[in-house]
């Protein structure tokens, strides 16, 4: 029995290129007056992507820089809306990208747990129940009421990881593999991720480490210029990707 977790149908995404965009009211008004105003240029970032992910699948996404890997993850998480095509996702998505973006350094650790948890989509009451286990995992019980700016960067990363992974999500999205904190904490993180890996969580991971993709994902997707070049068994996909890179 398999169940569909994610379905992308004919997803195209056009994005404005940022380089030539003038972020300037004065300049824009002047250029309109001079008749030199141009519509901002747009670039096709994802081109007719079709993708079906079954529940519990672990999928690695590979490709060169700028191929659209992170963009694809953003479309799946709902951060970006596709220009055309449809995205259907069943289940709760937990993004695990660059931890700590949601923290406010001025307020206390406990307040930040509530803030970050609600930003991630959990309810306040749910987060209140979990404060203890989060503090416990992050080893920050003694720092409950200290503002986050008083923590070391390693502690902040630990806190971010602990909040984001305290509840087992249905779909986990990893942009580059995590390396958080010191050696002992990294082991702890690894164990938790491994637990997710062994469970029914659907995992999508972007990585440049081919070894990791081969070992941990059954399926891999190779993106080039916003197209799915090849998808299938991770060993095969990694092999053809590496072949094509060495040929150049």
């Amino acid at each position: 029995m398999t169940e569909e977790a994610i379905r992308l149908a004919q997803v195209c995404l056009w994005r404005r290129t940022q380089e030539e965009f003038s972020y300037d009211l004065k300049k824009t008004v002047l250029s309109v007056l001079e008749g030199k105003y141009r519509q901002p240029a747009k670039k096709l970032v994802l081109d007719k992507i079709d993708l079906v992910v079954e529940k519990g699948e672990k999928i690695g996404i590979i490709g060169s820089n700028g191929a659209g890997k992170s963009t694809l993850l953003k479309v799946i998480s709902g951060i970006l809306q596709p220009t055309t095509g449809t995205v259907r996702v069943r289940g709760k998505i937990a993004p695990l990208i660059e931890l700590g973006a949601g923290f406010d350094s001025e307020i206390s650790v406990v307040d930040n747990i509530l803030l970050y948890g609600v930003l991630l989509g959990f309810s306040i009451s749910e987060m209140k129940e979990r404060i203890h286990s989060i503090l416990d995992f992050a080893e920050l019980e003694d720092y409950q009421f200290v503002p986050v700016k008083g923590l070391s960067s390693g502690m902040v990363a630990r806190l971010g990881f602990a909040i984001a992974t305290d509840i087992q999500p249905d779909i986990l999205i990893l942009d580059e593999v995590l390396s958080v904190g010191d050696e002992s904490f990294r082991n702890k993180c690894q164990k938790r991720i491994d637990k997710f890996w062994d469970s029914h969580v659907t995992i999508l991971v972007v990585s440049h480490s081919m070894e990791f993709i081969k070992q941990s994902c059954h399926t891999a997707i190779w993106l080039t210029k916003g197209n799915i070049n090849l998808a299938g068994n991770s060993e095969n996909v990694v092999k053809s990707y590496l072949d094509s890179v060495t040929q150049e």
Partner: protein, 269 residues
């Protein structure tokens, strides 16, 4: 408790998440702003109070004749006007940067973008309710001896909120596209401030210029609040309706612009 769970059933999960987001963001704003300051939320009253004493010191005696020869009346008129203006300027200026300021976050987590400007305005509402509102209530009780008037203050205040929400939506969206907006917006606030009859009586403005003052959307709000707090009469429903109507118009317009440009935000954040 039963009531709470019932009402929870009727609102969707998205709406509940939105409300909880507002809750944590507003409390974060207030905590950051007032952490370690001994006056706390009452800092927000300091600005209008100081400006009032400044204006009174300079113009009080000269303009008193327009206020039934009473400097006290001048003080109260200036204070009510300044409370409105400082609410408007603080809440919309904070809303302006709120979307761009949370750009990094919006790129990592899917969030309803409008919570950011709305949370800024809500933090200011909270400040108003525990800072300026009690002050206005005392003035109203002294002047009108009527609790109806105290409650009625909230009506033009709701109009003010709607106006600020509309403007907040508009400028926060515009700032995504034009990063030099704060300089222009400072000027806009100055113009709106000076063209509202706050520290001068409307009567001294030349006839030819008056129509421009009426266009100022804050005028009906200030007028209505003054009528309720200072005149001693029962609230004038026409003034209130006028203020509410223009408030609604601005909210509608601001939301429309925000909503229509929202799809382009992510390319520029």
């Amino acid at each position: 408790m039963i009531n709470l769970s019932l009402s929870n059933k009727y609102i969707s999960a998205d709406a509940r998440h939105y409300i909880e987001l507002l809750q944590v963001l507003v409390s974060r704003n207030l905590k950051v702003r007032y952490r370690g300051s001994f006056l706390g939320v009452y800092w927000s009253l300091l600005n209008p109070l100081m400006m009032t004493s400044l204006y009174t010191a300079i113009f009080g005696v000269t303009f008193a004749k327009y206020y039934d020869d009473s400097v006290i009346n001048y003080i109260l008129a200036a204070l009510t006007g300044l409370i409105v203006i400082s609410f408007f300027s603080a809440s919309t200026t904070q809303a302006l940067t709120s979307v761009v300021g949370n750009g990094a976050l919006l790129n990592k987590i899917r969030l309803p973008v409008s919570v950011f400007p709305v949370s800024m305005i809500m933090a200011n509402i909270f400040q108003f309710l525990i800072g300026a509102f009690p002050l206005l209530s005392i003035v109203t009780i002294v002047k009108s001896h009527s609790l109806i008037n105290v409650v009625a203050i909230l009506l033009p205040f709701i109009a003010l909120i709607m106006f600020c929400v509309g403007v907040g939506f508009f400028v926060s969206a515009l700032y995504v596209f034009f990063r030099d907006l704060p300089y222009f917006y400072e000027l806009v606030i100055f113009v709106i401030g000076i063209s509202s009859p706050i520290f001068y009586p409307a009567a001294i403005v030349p006839q030819a210029v008056k129509p421009f003052l009426i266009v100022n959307p804050l005028s009906p709000i200030i007028e209505s609040i003054r009528q309720i707090t200072l005149s001693g009469n029962l609230p004038d429903m026409m003034l209130i309706a006028n203020a509410l109507l223009s408030g609604m118009l601005f909210t509608g317009f601001g939301w429309l612009y925000f909503h229509r440009s929202r799809s382009q935000f992510m390319d520029l954040l």
